[in-house]
Symmetry: none
Subunit: 199 residues, 4 copies
DNA sequence: AATGAATGAGATTTCATTCAT
DNA sequence: AATGAATGAAATCTCATTCAT
């Protein structure tokens, strides 16, 4: 008897998930060019060919992972509208989490690494298309959060979009340097980063 | 008639220079993997094989370019001991220059691009070796400059090495984001960056 | 409740038929190499694996389709022994039908296309084996029809087998050229083809 | 000392020639899909990679060979304007040569095989583009030759272009059948083929 | 020193075939 | 019988490196 539709879907999804996990991990650590499809398959514990049942090219796999990454990050910075937590606190928590992640090379830092490492290997323009599809949501969400903080008098005045970009520039830079220097890197404190936002 | 030793040396040096120029330009714009040895030869206006008379592998060529780049940057941040210019002014000038370069994608920004783009593609550990050879001079010079500023009461107190790393992290991040976003990027002002340092 | 033997057989036969239909259509239009087993399954509306319940390899499927095709064509040229229609008329009708089919890319022309396109992609020798199994019936039937025509004084004298081959060569060539040139092809008339047979 | 430009050109040309020779032979005998680039390289006695110094893809190699083939055939059918040989004689010679070639699987027949076998494996439309580039010269040259014959009263009246296509259809068909049947094939005589043209 | 043709190892990709369900 | 996820061998293509001249 054939497997049911449901069973197949579950298998397929599980495999796709394994591939994306392996891809994220390898792309973010080794970059696009130095990560081979074979690598990814081995890490995911499947055959090379199977990857091509789920993604038509290596590029497409990368693209999809990047898209997911941006969405994931976007979620992480989302400001809880009805919450009692102030923008400054949201930022501080997010930043502290990130710094911890960067220090221990986990979760969130993978996302930044992916963007840092891999985007730079590829046509920035092509990737901006991906970004546009995600509507630059991340930067805009963050800008909106900054505006809230400015209204509440927590943050300095200024162009909120520019400040949002500055914030992510700093994070990018820290992620880069950590990757680059490894254990030699002495990470800044949350407060160091908040300096340019807080009054 | 055979060329004299001297003539040969001069030619050889000129060729090597051409290769390094071409390499810096291509590696910083396209990254290590996407730059082929043939590309470099064509840009330098020489034959592919000739590169291997001067460098034994593509890796070595990259390494040498990186080393040169770090030394060059190190020079640019060197604090003029006997000058009348204060550390804060030195930093402000350097930062302003850099931001201008980044905006117009020139000179100094090439160096940062090279580090950002290419280091990340390679084994961070391997490259740290290169760095060690260059003695992490850049970061230490900068740390010393920060110390001077602290003595003069211009800069915040704190671990100067950590602050030095923070400074370069910010610069790295800005270079990345500019490359990534192109014209969409709204660069910060010098003063935004100096916030991290100034009292 | 288990299906009866009979029901199973009927289903099995229906499936096999669907596969052969899909195979004929795709092999004749796209050729052996460019037709994938998955293509055939999709066109037949079944799963890939099911094809292997009915045919052990892609080669075997092709072989079987070819065999059927040759038999089918053989039937089409069969001379109705007891009929009032003369050999010349039989030929003329067959040829006219064929030319019409070729012009509109239908039925009979599929058979010729299959032979033209696909046989050529494969080991001619291997396929001759298939042909032998079909006893070269087609060519011989046709030769016999030519002999009848010769007896009746309708056709030129000559080696009837050779003339039969010549006839099919001409048809093959026309099918090829039509496929190759598409709308640019100006097909010959029935009479043009009959020239070499008729007195 | 480096090789001179001339030496390099000679080497390069010799290699390209070897590749084209090997390609023509293999493509015409085995078809496009079943001929691997490795095959061609081995037949040409060179490394696989070297083929890609001369042709950017397998498709391009095939295309170039096809173009050459069409030109070559076009030359073979060219009517010598000022000659004493009549169109009928030109045709008869060409046809006789071709039949001989087909029988012994040589030279000219390779060209027809290439067209027959390989064109059919590929997008007819794509290849028509190639043909258009060659201006369908072959068919038109032949049509012109037929017109001469008609003026001289040697050939039947009728649309010369259509007759030209018919002629090549017959040749194609014969080449196909010969390939298909091998030694079992009994080829027609020159006169059988001329029937279509002669009064 | 200089050339660029040539090599060959390794990457991506395709697809006939198998297999667990 | 039926499914389609999974495999793995083989194909195309790239490119750092070598080598004859």
């Amino acid at each position: 008897m054939a497997r049911t539709q449901e069973q197949n879907d579950k298998m397929s999804l599980a495999t796709k998930h394994k591939i994306i996990e392996a891809g994220l991990s390898l792309f973010s650590r080794k970059g696009f060019s130095k990560t081979s499809v074979k690598d990814i398959a081995q890490t995911a514990g499947i055959s090379t060919g199977l990857i091509y049942c789920h993604f038509s090219t290596k590029e497409e796999l990368f693209s999809e992972i990047l898209k997911k990454t941006i969405i994931e990050m976007s979620k992480a910075v989302r400001f809880p509208e009805d919450s009692n937590i102030s923008p400054a606190q949201t930022f501080a928590r997010f930043t502290a989490n990130l710094l911890k992640d960067i220090q221990s090379s986990e979760d969130l830092s993978d996302y930044f690494l992916l963007i840092t490492r891999c985007i730079l290997e590829k046509d920035a323009l092509n990737l901006m298309e991906e970004f546009k599809k995600s509507d630059l949501l991340l930067f805009e969400n963050t800008a909106r959060l900054i505006e809230k903080g400015q209204e509440l008098g927590e943050f300095k005045q200024g162009n909120s979009y520019k400040m949002s970009l500055m914030f992510f520039s700093v994070i990018q830079g820290i992620t880069d340097m950590k990757l680059f220097m490894g254990d030699k890197y002495v990470a800044p404190e949350t407060s160091d980063i908040m300096t340019f936002l807080l009054k």
